[in-house]
Symmetry: C2
Amino acid sequence: MHDTLGKEQIYVAVDLLILTEHAARLKLLLSRRPQEPFSGRWALPGRFVGMDESAETSAQLLLMEMLGTQKLYMEQLYTFTDIHRDPRGRVISIAYLVVVPWKEMDPLIREHAEGYQLCDVETGRELLRITDLDGREMQEADFAFDHERIVRTGIQRIQGKLNYTPIGFAFLNDPEGFSLSEVQEIHEAILGYALDPSNFRRQMLKQYEESGTLSQTEKTEIRRRGRPAALYQWKDRRQTQWQTENS
Amino acid sequence: MHDTLGKEQIYVAVDLLILTEHAARLKLLLSRRPQEPFSGRWALPGRFVGMDESAETSAQLLLMEMLGTQKLYMEQLYTFTDIHRDPRGRVISIAYLVVVPWKEMDPLIREHAEGYQLCDVETGRELLRITDLDGREMQEADFAFDHERIVRTGIQRIQGKLNYTPIGFAFLNDPEGFSLSEVQEIHEAILGYALDPSNFRRQMLKQYEESGTLSQTEKTEIRRRGRPAALYQWKDRRQTQWQTENS
DNA sequence: CCATTTTTGGTCAATTTGACCATAAACAGT
DNA sequence: ACTGTTTATGGTCAAATTGACCAAAAATGG
C-alpha cells in the first residue's frame, strides 16, 4: 500500500505499544516485518493515519483489526519525528500505549493477530531486556525504525504511572473479580522487582477503597495451593475517562 | 504562506505553550491572529514543520525566531489530531511546553515577539482563568483552533510535574542566584494556592540539596522589606537532559 | 527605638512507609 | 488424621514524612 512514499510530504502514522501480563511476566506484542524496509526486524503494529481519521481513531481502528475490540485502556504515549526514522520517506509516528487483560488477549491473539508474538519484557530499575518466544534477547539493532526507543519510552511511562494512577487494574478487567495478589503480580512484572504483599495490599486499599472504585466481593478464589484469596472488583466509573485523560 | 492547504495530505505543525512567571503570576504567551481563519482570536505561536526538520527542531527554530534563544526548558506536551481542528485543511499539531525565566523573557519579548502578549493565568485546584493585559477574561470561544485545550493540557502537565521534578527551577536560571521564596512564588503561581514557607523550604532542600543540584551561595539578597534571603544556585547537570527526557 | 515584614529554624502531632512477624486457610503427602 | 508447605491477610513497630504551627533572626520604615 505504501511501498514507496512521495518525497514532498510528511506522512503520519500511529504505532501501538500493546502490553499485557501473564505468569509474572510483562509481555509486548511484536512482529517480524515481512518486507523491506527492516525486513525481518521486530516492529510494533502500525498504520498510516487516513485523511478522515484522528490519530486516536486510527489507533482504535488498528486495534479493532488486530484484536477485534476497542474497549481497552489506551493513552497517547509520545510522538516521534526524527527525519530519518523511516528510510521510505518522511514519516512521523504518534505512539499509543495499550493495556490488554491477559484473559482477553489470549484468545484474541490467535484469531486476529497472526504473525504477532507476545514477547517477554524483563525490566529492573534500570535494565530493559526483551526476549522472543524462544528466549533470544533482542538488541536495539533487532528492531525496525526507532521502535526500540518507543518501547523504552512506553515502559518508563507505565512504570511511573503505577505510582499515582490505577493503571495496573487495566491489566485485569475480568468481571469475575480478581485477587490483590494478581494486582501485585502485575505491578511486580512492570516494575521488575518484588513488593511486600502486606504493604502492597494496605496501599491499594487505602488508595482506592474509600473512593469506591475498588471493593471486595463475597466470592473467593479457587487455588491449588495456599489460602484462597478474596476477590475484588473494580468499579469502572473512570474507565471511560481514561481514554481521553492526559497525565 | 499556507493560506490555503491542499486537500490531499496531512500537514504537521508545532505549537508552543510558552510559560513564564512574574509578580506571583503565571504568564502565557499569546497573540491575536491577524488573519483568517480565527482572525482576532487568541492563538499560541505555531509553525508548520518543514520536510527537513524534526518537530523538536522546528519548535526550536520557532523559539529562536520569537525569542532569539534556544537555551530553554522544552518538552513535548501532546499531539492534537482532531480532524476539524483547522478549517483550512487537515493539520495536526505537536504541542511543546516551554519555560522561560522572566529575566530573559522581559527583554526578549520586546525585541522579537511583536504582537504577542504575556497573558495572566489564574489557576486554582480546578479553575483556569486566562486574562489579557487589560484584564479581560478569555472564554474557550476566544481562542483559535483547539488552543484553549492545549493550554489546559499544558497547565495540568506542569502542575503535576511540580511534585516530582525540579521544573520550577526552569523559571529562574539566572546565574546571580535566587532565593527559595522566589521558587515558592513560582510554585504558588503555577498551583494557584499558597504554600507554607517553612515546609516548602524543608522539602526543596531535602529533595535537591543532597543530590548536589541545589546549593547555597555566600551571597544574600537585597530587599526592601524584611530579612534578606540567602541566595541559592542550581547546578545544571541535568538541564540538558531535560530537553530529551520523557516523563 | 519600635512596629512591620520576610526569612529561617524548630516543635509536635498525625500520617505514611518499610521491615517484619504471626496467624488463617487452604492443600499435599505420609 | 496429622504434618508440613504454601499463600493470604492482619498486625506491630520504628523510621520517615507531612502539615500546622510558633518563634526568633535580620532587615526596613517611621
